[in-house]
Amino acid sequence: MTLLEVHALKARHGLLTAVRGIDLSLDDGEKLALVGANGAGKTTLLRTIAGIHPAHGGRVMFDGADVTALPAHRRSALGIALVPEGRKLFATMSVADNLRVATSAGRRGRWTFDSIVEALPQLKPKLKAPAGSLSGGQQQAVAIGRALMTNPRVLLLDELSLGLSPLAVQGVYDSLATVAKAGTPLILVEQDLQRTFHVADRIVCMLEGQVVASGRTSEMTRDEVMDHYFGHRTNSPPQGTA
């Protein structure tokens, strides 16, 4: 069953069109990876789906309903959660408050404050500490936990490993594995192709705001993806669709 659909979505940064009429769909339980070089439009696409970047054209459909005109907090209440690039924690608030504020979405489900602390045990000794004082890996765990507090039906994860040490990245992906077991569908933006192939069921490659390739991870090779990543191949599926 298709949970999230994006039709001919366009988004701009001033005069620059960052997302050029993308079609994308995500099935319930599916794990989709978006890959592409810097400036490909991946982050803008996720932010537009989450509602904190305005769509310039096209539609975002969630569970059959058009949510394109809804503000981000209403989309969060429907179950769309974004772990933003750079984590964007509320730095002066404690870790516990960063988690608890996300109950504002008003969604109940399997994720509660206690279950998240259990799933992300590295947070337990840091609950009273200001979120800004944590290491990068711990901050990423807080950002994932905060998104889970909204009990999302789809989780959008933007550049989880950005700026983290290899050890911290491993910790973050261990946390993500715990989350993935819950079966929440997710869209992952990641530069590390090895991890992408490990986590995702399907890969969508973007270049200059368009989809240039997509396929199941079991049917694609890293070399194929790399070719599309750098724009060496342009003949795979119709542009802008996945």
Partner: protein, 297 residues
């Protein structure tokens, strides 16, 4: 001992300044808006309670039961109708908008109530004028009450911000409104709630202003200056800093008044300037940059 007495009176006066300034500090801390109509809105509350006391024989503190929720509603409306829209157009536009609002309020009060000064003190009698001595120190009932109300109000705001769901939402929006929306917080509703809370405190401050002194339609501007100085001395956006700033301003004015009759205002302004310039130096901004044209900075 006279010096100690002057300091004590300054500390108690600082309680009033903190009460007056906490709404200004709260709005700046949450919405980054400097509300230039702050003093005029306090005067509106003072006139409202004076009207209830004078025409309907309400005790001024009973008048607060009406003034506080009405001012909260005014704050909510102000945010949704004026501040929210003007903030979208840039940082300076809300300053101009609230300046215009202050002009409208002041002249509307003048047109309806005339230039006569008014005070709520006669309705309180002993509380407004009475006091007691502890050795050589003199303590007025009203300054003590004002100081106590300021501490309770600031403490209440602190507890609300730290320990309630609304407080967490307000802090999240103050930190990063876009990210707050991502976790389900309606930033516009939270800003409106914060404006309502700020204006409720302005309502309380306005009543204490009219009890401790006289008000006229144009009394808002000097009150805004005192509130602004207290906020800046204590650190913009910090509630307990606002109390400290208010006390510092009050003590400076009280000591200044003991040196010269004009010293009351001058000492407060001098303290404000010294703190401002010191902060600029500590932040690495040369003082001379204040005097360069904006385009050259």
């Amino acid at each position: 001992m006279n010096f100690l007495n002057q300091v004590l009176q300054g500390v108690l006066l600082g309680g009033y300044y903190a009460l007056l300034a906490c709404g200004l500090s709260f709005m700046f801390g949450v919405m980054r808006i400097i509300n230039l109509a702050h003093g005029s809105l306090a005067v509106v509350a003072a006139y409202g309670v004076f009207y209830l006391a004078d025409r309907h024989e309400w005790h001024p503190f009973a008048g607060l039961v009406i003034a506080v929720p009405v001012m909260a509603a005014v704050g909510w409306l102000l945010q949704r109708s004026l501040l929210e829209r003007s903030a979208r157009a840039g940082e300076l536009v809300p300053i101009l908008a609230t300046f215009g609002l202050a002009v409208v309020i002041d002249n509307t009060l003048f047109a309806n109530f005339g230039a006569d000064t008014r005070s709520l003190a006669p309705f309180l009698e002993e509380l407004a004028y009475g006091g007691f001595n502890i050795g050589p120190l003199t303590l007025g009932h009203l300054p003590l009450l004002t100081f106590g109300v300021a501490v309770v109000l600031l403490g209440g705001l602190h507890v609300m911000l730290k320990h309630t769901p609304l407080g967490r939402r307000i802090r999240a929006v103050a930190d990063d409104p876009s990210t707050a929306q991502l976790v389900g917080v309606d930033a516009m509703a939270v800003n409106a709630a914060a404006a309502a809370i700020a204006m409720a405190t302005v309502g309380v401050a306005g009543v204490f202003l009219a009890i401790r002194a006289t008000v006229d339609p144009y009394a808002g501007a000097p009150q805004l200056i005192f509130a602004f100085e207290a906020v800046m001395i204590g650190g913009a956006g910090s509630l307990w800093g606002t109390l400290a700033g208010g006390i510092a301003l009050g003590v400076a004015q009280s000591l200044g008044a003991s040196v010269h009759t004009q010293g009351f205002l001058i000492a407060g302004h001098v303290l404000f300037l010294v703190v401002l310039l010191t902060r600029m130096l500590l932040a690495g901004r040369p003082i001379m940059s204040l005097f360069k044209p904006a385009v050259a900075r």
